[in-house]
C-alpha cells in the first residue's frame, strides 16, 4: 500500500505548514487558528491510525472485564432483568478477545517480504526453459494481478481518476472479512 496513510498525512502537514499558513494574510485569524487545529488533529491521527483496532480491543477487554466483575459481585441482587443480555455480550467479547490481532507493522513487513520473494521468483522464471510452466506461472500472476488492481481501484476510487468508477465493487466487498 504505497503511499501509506502515514505518508499521506505527512504530506498534508507539509502543505499546511509550508504553503497554506505562510500564505494566509495576518488579518485572517480564524483561518490561521483553524489551520493550526487541522495540524493538531493530523498529528493525533498519525499516532492513532495504526493502533485503532488495538485500542478498541483494549477497551473491550477493560469494559467486558468490568461488566463481568460487577455482575459477579452483585449476583442476582442487581434488580436488573437483562434476560441474559449481559452474558451474551460477554461471550461475544470473549470470542473477539481470543483472536490474535497482529500489529499493522507486522503485517506490512510481511506483505513487503512476500512481494519481494514473489518478484525474485518472477525474475528467475524469465529464463525458464519449459514454455508450459512459463504459461502456467503467467496465468497465476495475471489472475492475482486482476484482483489486486480491482482492489486498488476501489481503494483510491474517491480520488476521481477512474472514469469507470461505477464499475468498481465497494471496497468492503473486496477485503478479507
Amino acid at each position: 500500500m504505497a503511499p501509506d496513510i502515514g505518508l499521506r498525512i505527512q504530506s498534508i502537514l507539509r502543505s499546511i505548514r509550508e504553503v497554506i499558513i505562510p500564505a494566509l494574510p495576518q488579518t485572517e485569524r480564524l483561518a490561521a487558528d483553524q489551520a493550526q487545529l487541522i495540524i493538531g488533529n493530523l498529528l493525533i491521527i498519525i499516532d492513532q491510525h495504526e493502533l485503532i483496532f488495538h485500542y478498541a480491543l483494549t477497551e473491550l477487554a477493560e469494559f467486558s472485564g468490568l461488566l463481568r466483575d460487577l455482575s459477579h459481585e452483585i449476583g442476582d441482587d442487581s434488580g436488573e432483568d437483562d434476560n441474559g443480555q449481559n452474558d451474551m455480550l460477554l461471550a461475544r467479547a470473549q470470542s473477539l478477545l481470543e483472536l490474535h490481532l497482529p500489529a499493522y507493522r507486522e503485517i506490512d513487513d510481511l506483505v513487503r517480504a512476500t512481494r519481494g520473494a514473489t518478484d525474485r521468483l518472477i525474475r528467475s522464471t524469465a529464463e525458464h526453459n519449459d514454455s508450459v510452466v512459463r504459461r502456467r506461472l503467467a496465468k497465476l500472476l495475471m489472475d492475482q494481478s486482476a484482483r489486486q488492481i480491482e482492489r486498488e481501484r476501489a481503494w483510491t476510487a474517491a480520488s476521481g481518476f477512474d472514469p469507470d468508477r461505477n464499475s468498481i465493487p465497494p471496497l468492503a466487498h473486496l477485503l478479507r472479512a
Binding site: 504505497a2 503511499p3 499521506r8 504530506s11 502543505s15 513487503r112 495475471m142 488492481i149 486498488e152 481501484r153
Partner: protein, 396 residues
C-alpha cells in the same frame, strides 16, 4: 513509514544500478544526480525574494545591460514536477517594454527526474512548428540559480475551462471547448510526429537508428532503473511487464520527437476563443516511436464522455476517428501492433512514476508539493489496468 536502504544509497549501490541499466547519457546523468542527492535534507520551496535575487545575478550576466529590475515574482500553480515562478523584467531603456518570463526550477527530487538541457533543446527544436514558450536561458547544473532551471517566455492562457466546485482530475472540456480545441490539438500532435528534427540541435539526446531496437531498450533500461531506485515495495506485475517489453520490442520505423505527456491539461488556451497558446511540459521529450505518444493519449484516464455518452479518446473524439485524423495529418501510419506494445509500455512507465517515484519523493520530502505528487499515486491502478489488459490480449 518505510525507510529503506534506497533512502541513503551508498556510492557502490548507485554504481551497481547504473551498470545494470545502461541508458541515454543525459538520462543517466539526471538519475545519478538524483541518487547522489537523495540522502540530504528535505527540499523547501524557494521564497520569492531568493528567486528574484538569484535571477538578477543570472540575467545580469546575460542581458546586454545591467540596467533592469525584476518584479512581480509569483508562484505558479499546476505542474506536478517542477517549481515554477512567473516574473517581470523591466528595463531602464524606456523604449523597451517589460517582459514576462517563467522560471522552471528542479526541486530536490521529482516524480520524473529529467535533464533541463533535454527539455531546453526539445522546446527550441519545435517552437517553429507549434506554439511553445520560447526557451530563453538554462542553468543545467543549478550553480547560478540554486537548482537546475530553465527560463521561458510567459504564455497566456488556461489549462482547463474555468469551473466551480471541488477539485477533480477530469478536465471537463465540454462541447464548446472540445469543438474549438480538438482540431488544433490533433494538428500539433500529428505535426510533432512528422517533424524532421535532423536540422535542430538535439545533442542532448541519443538518437536511435531506424529499424533498430536499441533506443527502446535504452528507454526500458532507464525506466527499469527508476523502478529499482524509487520503488518502496515490489509489484510482481511490473516485473512481468518489464520482461514482456524486453522480449517484444518492435523495431522503430520512423524516429520522431516524442513529447511523453501530450494530452489535454498540458497545453494552454485562451478561454475567450479557445486558441491554443502553448504546448507545455517537454521535460520527458525524447527521440523515439510516435506510437508511444499515441498510446499514452489513449489511456481511459484522459477520456471523456460526450454529451451523448460516447467515449472520446483524449477527451476529444472517438478513438477510430482520432487515429484516422492523425494518420491523415501526419502522413504516418498507426500500426496496431506497435500501438498495443506502447500501450503496455506507457502503462508500465506511468505506473513507475505513480507507484514508485511519487511515493519516494514524498517519503524524502524532496518536492515543493509532496501532497500533489502523492495524489498522483492514486492514478496507479489505471496504469496497472492498462498493462494488465495489454498483456492479457497478447497472451490470449
Amino acid at each position: 513509514m518505510l525507510i529503506d536502504c534506497k533512502q541513503s544509497p551508498t556510492a557502490n549501490w548507485i554504481e551497481d544500478v547504473r551498470a545494470k541499466y545502461p541508458t541515454e547519457r543525459l538520462v543517466d546523468e539526471a538519475l545519478t544526480r538524483k541518487m547522489r542527492n537523495r540522502n540530504t535534507e528535505p527540499y523547501y520551496p524557494q521564497n520569492r525574494n531568493e528567486v528574484a535575487e538569484r535571477l538578477t545575478k543570472f540575467l545580469a550576466r546575460r542581458l546586454p545591460s545591467s540596467d533592469f529590475t525584476i518584479s512581480d515574482v509569483r508562484t505558479l500553480a499546476g505542474g506536478s514536477s517542477k517549481e515554477q515562478f512567473a516574473f517581470t523584467v523591466s528595463y531602464g531603456d524606456a523604449d523597451r517594454a517589460p517582459e514576462r518570463y517563467v522560471i522552471r526550477l528542479q526541486p530536490g527530487e521529482s516524480i520524473v527526474e529529467t535533464h533541463r538541457l533535454r527539455e531546453f533543446q526539445a522546446m527550441r527544436a519545435v517552437d517553429q512548428i507549434m506554439p511553445v514558450p520560447r526557451a530563453r536561458w538554462i542553468d543545467s547544473t543549478g550553480d547560478e540559480l540554486g537548482q537546475p532551471a530553465l527560463i521561458l517566455d510567459f504564455a497566456d492562457g488556461v489549462a482547463r475551462p474555468p469551473a466551480n466546485g471541488p477539485f477533480t482530475p477530469r478536465l471537463g472540456l465540454g462541447a464548446h471547448y472540445r469543438g474549438l480545441l480538438a482540431p488544433q490539438f490533433l494538428q500539433h500532435f500529428a505535426a510533432l510526429a512528422a517533424f524532421d528534427w535532423s536540422g535542430a540541435d538535439m545533442s542532448a539526446f541519443d538518437a536511435p537508428a531506424v529499424g533498430s531496437t536499441e533506443g527502446v531498450i535504452a528507454a526500458i533500461n532507464g525506466w527499469a532503473r527508476v523502478w529499482e531506485e524509487d520503488a518502496v515495495e515490489e509489484y510482481p506485475l511490473m516485473r512481468f511487464a518489464e520482461q514482456w517489453l524486453r522480449q517484444s520490442v518492435p523495431p522503430i520505423d520512423h524516429v520522431s520527437i516524442v513529447h511523453g505527456d501530450f494530452r489535454a491539461g498540458n497545453f494552454l488556451f485562451k478561454p475567450d476563443d479557445g486558441r491554443i497558446t502553448a504546448i507545455l511540459d517537454w521535460e520527458m521529450a525524447h527521440l523515439g516511436d510516435r506510437h508511444e505518444d499515441i498510446a499514452f493519449l489513449l489511456n481511459p484516464m484522459f477520456a471523456e464522455k460526450s454529451e451523448e455518452g460516447q467515449q472520446l479518446a483524449g477527451g476529444f473524439m472517438p478513438q477510430a476517428e482520432l487515429l484516422a485524423e492523425y494518420e491523415r495529418l501526419s502522413g504516418l501510419p498507426v500500426d496496431p501492433i506497435r500501438l498495443r506494445y506502447y500501450q503496455v509500455f506507457t502503462g508500465w512507465r506511468s505506473a513507475i512514476i505513480s507507484i514508485a517515484s511519487a511515493t519516494r519523493c514524498a517519503l524524502g520530502q524532496k518536492t515543493h508539493q509532496d501532497i500533489r505528487v502523492g495524489w498522483i499515486s492514486n492514478a496507479a491502478p489505471l496504469w496497472l489496468r492498462q498493462i494488465h489488459q495489454g498483456l492479457a490480449l497478447e497472451m490470449s
